[in-house]
Symmetry: C2
Subunit: 159 residues, 2 copies
């Protein structure tokens, strides 16, 4: 019961499927087949390609993430890291919220000002109503903006 446990993590024979898969994927990243900033195929796609269980793919990807080659964004996928750059604002609604937040903090949108309507933001970002709403909900929760039925949202005055 102690033998396996005492083995240091590193030196495994390498016959394990998931390390092989990790190597294959790592190669594709290094050769640029999976370019920096783009998304890897999904777990389902990889498990289909390598004809292996989803769990096995996940093990492989976990090692790649530990190596710092990729980052994983739940509900979005895995993204190949760009050289020495932090991945930020992964989701669409975070991008929108971030833009608006910046405008408020810089004063482009002053307290009392009217916030672009959902329709306008949809048009600006070419996205769905729900995504825009999620961005606005985030700002509202932060207390930056307020909404009232029938009228436009507006920037709250700072406390």
């Amino acid at each position: 019961m102690r033998t396996a446990r005492n083995v240091r993590e590193g030196h495994l024979t390498g016959w394990r499927v998931y390390t092989q898969i990790a190597d294959r994927v790592r190669e594709r990243i290094l050769t640029g087949l999976y370019a920096a900033g783009t998304s890897l195929p999904s777990e389902a796609a990889l498990s289909a390609e390598f004809r292996v269980a989803r769990n096995t793919v996940r093990r492989a990807l976990r090692t790649l993430e530990a190596d710092g080659l990729i980052v994983t964004a739940p509900s979005k996928g895995r993204i190949v890291k760009t050289e020495g750059q932090e991945v930020t604002a992964v989701y669409r609604y975070q991008v929108i919220a971030g833009d608006l937040r910046r405008q408020i903090e810089r004063g482009d949108l002053a307290p009392g000002d009217t916030v672009p309507s959902v329709a306008e933001l949809r048009w600006l970002y070419d996205t769905s109503r729900n995504t825009v709403r999620q961005a606005l909900a985030e700002l509202q929760q932060e207390g930056l903006i307020m909404s009232r039925p029938g009228k436009r949202r507006f920037v709250r005055s700072r406390e």
Copy 2:
């Protein structure tokens, strides 16, 4: 100020747009163009066809509903009433929940039994995962079934 008010509901001069629209739609229902049990065009579609505001269409439809010609199902649409029959189980998830509930109450699914999985129900009803989940959530809230991660849902024993 009293003239319009004192007029009984029936004999209006007909200059009002929404009554005209109501008449047109009523005619289509009576002639069978909009068959019983089917859905009317959406508010947006009607307002586009008659080139009026959505509010105006809504007024027209309200009178038709008051006449008992149609029923309205939020997020679904307006349905032409069938002769002397109550409309029941409008939404897909309610149909699924109803079927399962019946099976439990009749004993086809006994306490402790396993409930069909989401995948199986999807296949049975040819619907999305979310719809199935909503049906199951309803039953769970009623205390009829229970779920636990990794394992199948099961029928709760009756109190």
